[in-house]
Symmetry: D2
Subunit: 306 residues, 4 copies
């Protein structure tokens, strides 16, 4: 939780083409649990998440991210944030209670990169699969990749600098890492955290309002291998086979959902704190920053956006 | 960082008998770097810590913990905490600037279990071994167990309940887990966090003012194996060979420094958040809570305190 | 395969008290597949074994090992071995075709430590769970610990030296490691291999005809953790929580089946070759040899034999 | 050891352009020890190998493999093999005693793919870094990737079928896996073992007498990550970042030495036995066979041969 009371990346809503196929994928390959559904939406949670859902699939004729939402500690914090966001100049609206299953009221606003972000505090609590009394470390009956939780998203947009300022000054995030042009003038990438994790949301320069990927957390490098094995068994396209990021130090595998939304199974990034300096990557080293082993970018990684 | 601005367990001062032998152990077996020393004290940091030191050894004729200190975000937060701590009734004193090498002023107070705790905000910044510009994920030349950081301490004392109230209500910590007597009347253990880590400090019922162990963070289960191998090579007594905790889910190995202070190499505990319910362990399951594989306590684990 | 055509530790027959309870354990906790059964015996194979079975449970009023059997390449090799074994002075008998389900004829003989050993070549072939055409690296639907295979057994008996001579000179095994009394006069332990594995059978000095443990192979240190977690979930008594052996360098966890037969999940021993020198452990270092991290023996480990 | 007494892939001689640069690479990045050198050659062993050397670098104006050599159990086996090889029709010569430092006589012959192969039995014995009396599981002071041993080579040539027949019928190897054209008519790949390892030598269809890669053994998937990290730190070109093979199930990273000879750090292939059926891959699945996660080949992987 940062000083403004933002707890974490709580949920993310994706647009998908074929709801049935997508549900099968997120349920059986990713291994999330379906917790609710209505006509156009299916709600999921990971086994290690307490809240009612962290991922919503919305049937649509385009792929991409509808919005990403951060959970706030309480209503007081939410109101203060609402005020600050409006002061910053974001257009803001209220999502009324129960618009989404099992959720209370939320505020929704557009950030400088054109993405919609929401803040909320009320959501039903289902508990984790192992329970909260004398729990085992992991439950029986896990399916697929079985991540612990929604971890982060990487979004694409033009004005990374202003967006970073919005997240740090208005929302209270900390910038853990940044990518600068070699002359130091331009901010090309920005990694932001509201926790002790290496990132909760990140931005990379490119066309506005695009999703680069949604990351799910797995525990370690062997779980990344297991994830990649499961993807291959299920003939899911793996874009980037297991490797390490320079940025965050995390271990990773990238792949696509049936609508072309990029997913990541991410493990083991470092812990960071509000007083740590922001790590700087210079654009000439961006290859090593993104793919530490390859040390150069992959064309599809820049182009496949939803 | 919790809502009161406490960033993390920043440093811990241990009393040791033989300074030379202890420095050799913390430097070459644990693998910390010596950053400063004066007549009676040696200062250490781990390779992945930014601040000047996280462990201080103090030459003494008894073993144990002199104090544990938490770093606070800024002076305003420190002053507010000082006020609240005095209101709670703790006797509080000021440690003046540069009493410790590379540190500013601190406040020192005694918690209900009799331990001394400090809060501080000013400390020199040395940076991590990989630097902050285009960093590699780990540096060359690591020695010994080479933990990332000081992680947490487990302290022993009688009034676990009041101490928990002090940490949650006054300092703003969250209780991640607790151990209750089977009738639910007594709190026997309490795990407290000021971050998203499963614990930053913990208490277990027993004689006041005692140290159970100091935990250092290693990245994963293979690093726990490496730690245990290194301990065996160095003929360091391993009390508890690699296993998993039910509490925190962490992976662990326990051993003793040359003065009998218990150390832990700890990996992979879960992430927690302020809105997560406190996990409850009942005393009849304390064996599985502490040593998940063995499911029973080990006598030395209760008795060897410093 | 050694020069005498002995391929591997092919199967082992255990005596158990309660067949139903034991089948449940070996099927669901260990994770073997039942491949056949008759009135008094149940046959199992691991998912990664080609032959019809590697473990047989025999209902009995005592626990322990009925016999251990090695698969031989062909009938010619089997006949030559039969001749050499009789020359050595072992009492030998023939087990006729189909005495055991899915098996041809075998020869059975008693080794100097009083254990029964068999050699056989004909056994039905079921194939591994992933198939032999374009196989995935692991199958779906694994249960429990899910070892790759039966790996080895450690047997107890008095005359370790003569038994070693029998295995090396008559059967063509190589001694990979040995434990000697400090004066070098007595052989207390002997580790023997007919493959490139660190051991296929081993002997430790003690009462004749006893079983110390049966080892099943798991792939790595994380699989040892998973095994220990599964044992705890199933409330199976874990005698030795995860650690490393000095001997074989393997990683291990020890536990008991419902009849008190000790099992091991074993990972990652080294590869050895016929021209490698035998590694010597001196009895004063036997603690580190058996439990590398603890560096001392555990009383139950010497006493619990079946 | 197979039935003909061939113990293992004992050594391999590579041609390199710049001896100094290459020695630096194999010593500090791969982490082998230099054991001898003369004017044009440098000899290396891995820390876990007993014999005097397993890799020889030869200064040359072309890259590639001079020869690969298998160690044979004794002179009798060597003579019998010599006879059989000549009967097969290979041109054979004798390398006289001490032509290579610390080695006795060898026989050298050309296999149908045009590569030179040698067999030898006499070589000086240096022992492993941990010694053979009460050894630790690993030595202090490891450098770089620090593989356990030379593991295997993949060679390129036209007549994979006849070469396979030579290795199985004349040398006594077992074919663990093969790649066939979809119509089953052509053998495109062949994986051969003289041990219980998944492969000791392998062939893939292509221009004669070429080297595809030399594989060094590391213990597990985390060691593959460490290898890739070390390569990136040293700015060594990583061709294929960490992934799994379908064939052998092994975990791998591919990269190039300073002369363009491809190296592999390989972990965790399965164990195989003489009675296991040969696994078949069909050419349409060769992508998954080679790179299980990507499921398709990479152009450089076919083209970069030395």
């Amino acid at each position: 939780m940062n000083g403004n009371g933002i707890l974490r990346a709580g949920r993310l809503e994706l647009r998908v083409f074929d709801l049935e196929k997508s549900v099968d994928y997120y349920k059986n390959v990713i291994g999330l649990d379906v917790t609710a559904q209505d006509e156009n939406r299916v709600y999921f949670k990971a086994w290690d998440e307490f809240d009612h859902h962290s991922l919503i699939l919305q049937k649509s004729d385009s792929a991409g991210m509808d919005h990403m939402a951060f959970k706030v500690a309480d209503h007081a914090a939410l109101e203060l944030l609402e005020y600050k966001i409006e002061q910053f100049g974001c257009k803001l609206s209220r999502i009324s209670n129960r618009t989404r299953i099992a959720e209370g009221e939320a505020i929704r606003f557009q950030i400088p990169t054109g993405h919609y972000v929401e803040l909320y505090t009320d959501i039903e609590h289902l508990g984790i699969a192992t329970g909260s009394v004398n729990p085992d470390p992991w439950p029986d009956g896990l399916r697929g990749i079985a991540p612990h939780r929604l971890d982060h998203a990487l979004l694409v947009g033009d004005d990374v600098k202003t967006t970073t300022r919005f997240f740090t000054e208005i929302l209270g995030f900390k910038q853990s890492e940044k990518i600068l042009s070699v002359d130091g003038e331009q901010m090309i990438g920005s990694f932001l955290t509201t926790t002790n994790k290496a990132h909760d949301i990140a931005f990379i320069k490119g066309p506005d309002a695009k999703l680069h990927h949604v990351g799910f957390y797995v525990d370690n490098w062997y779980e990344v291998l297991k994830a990649a094995d499961i993807l291959s068994k299920n003939k899911v396209e793996v874009e980037i086979t297991p490797t390490r990021h320079g940025i965050t130090r995390g271990q990773t595998v990238y792949f696509f959902d049936p609508s072309g939304n990029r997913n990541e199974a991410f493990a083991s990034g470092y812990m960071t704190y509000a007083d740590f300096p922001t790590i700087t990557w210079t654009e000439d080293q961006i290859g090593a920053g993104i793919f530490y082993h390859r040390r150069e970018l992959v064309e599809s990684f820049n182009l496949a956006l939803t």
